[in-house]
Symmetry: C2
Subunit: 191 residues, 2 copies
């Protein structure tokens, strides 16, 4: 039955996500994933041709979840300044709640094939931000600029500012407001 088959596949992905959130990519041997999914190592290969394929999908799903959350939070706000603030708060807040997962998605060493998925992830964030920036430029909230470049730079800034604290396990309480101020200034929001 196909239901069973799909269920197995889902169990594998869920197990991989679970281990990523607890121990990062480092803990994700195929054997560990299979065990957590309640099946034999070899069975994983009934559903995914290689480990890299499996984790490309896992990264895609996890990333999409993050990007969606950020996009959704931003959509609730009225001004561009508030949208950007919402992006940062959501991004950083979620990262802070699942630090191991956030580290895995952002910076942990992984297979090159999986790494490629990370570029997509970052570009997706950049795209969301770029949309808001373009809008802000169009209606005069911020000065003319290349929304792509600004967005890419902001994604880098957010990531870098979070990786340190995530690795260290501590974040200054003013990190998030500080980043919001930084972003607003970088965009040229008139204050």
């Amino acid at each position: 039955m196909k239901a069973r088959l799909n269920a197995s596949r889902d169990r594998i992905v869920a197990a991989a996500l679970g281990i990523m959130a607890e121990q990062g990519y480092a803990g994700c041997s195929v054997a560990a994933v299979a065990e957590r999914a309640g099946m034999a190592t070899g069975s994983v290969y009934r559903h995914f041709p290689t480990k890299a394929d499996l984790f490309a999908e896992v990264f895609r799903i996890a990333s999409q979840r993050e990007v969606d959350a950020v996009a959704r939070a931003a959509a609730l706000e009225a001004t561009m300044a508030d949208r950007i603030a919402a992006v940062i708060e959501t991004f950083a807040g979620r990262a802070w709640k699942s630090p191991r997962l956030a580290y895995a998605l952002l910076a942990e060493p992984v297979d090159p094939a999986v790494d490629a998925e990370r570029l997509v992830f970052r570009r997706a964030y950049a795209k969301v931000i770029a949309g808001h920036v373009a809008e802000g430029v169009a209606n005069g909230e911020v000065p003319a600029q290349n929304p792509e470049l600004t967005a890419t730079a902001l994604v880098g800034a957010l990531g870098e500012a979070m990786v340190g604290p995530l690795a260290a396990g501590v974040a200054g309480p003013d990190t998030i407001p500080g980043l919001i101020t930084f972003a607003h200034r970088a965009l040229g929001v008139s204050t």
Copy 2:
């Protein structure tokens, strides 16, 4: 003789740097390094206990070189705005001249032990920038802010904006001026 011994060690480091610049960390098997240094594989272990130790040192040296170049360029300028511009131009210009090396230093997957060295590298950049920011705050060139946070965010922004082009092999001609504008605005330089 000790001179010979030191010379061997230097040859190893130089060979590793050379291969990194040409083929990235991926090409840096111990055997390849040894061959380029003109010695047997095993001899490398006369000078470094493990491969990770060797590359920690290699990363440290290469990073120091980069950070020094940036710091030196910045020191030549008079205003904080110009110093920051010099940082960005030097960083991006050098990365663009040795893209494979820059990619290896910035983003290529490496041993966790070597990865740790990367954090030091980024923090060193941040420290240089933070110094200029603090100075700018002190003499009123820019508004009050946390220089550490601003600097970290800028390092992330620069890295992110360069990794894409480095991987793709193309950079828009307005990337560097765009980044300078971004940085100046983010700092709050009065224009």
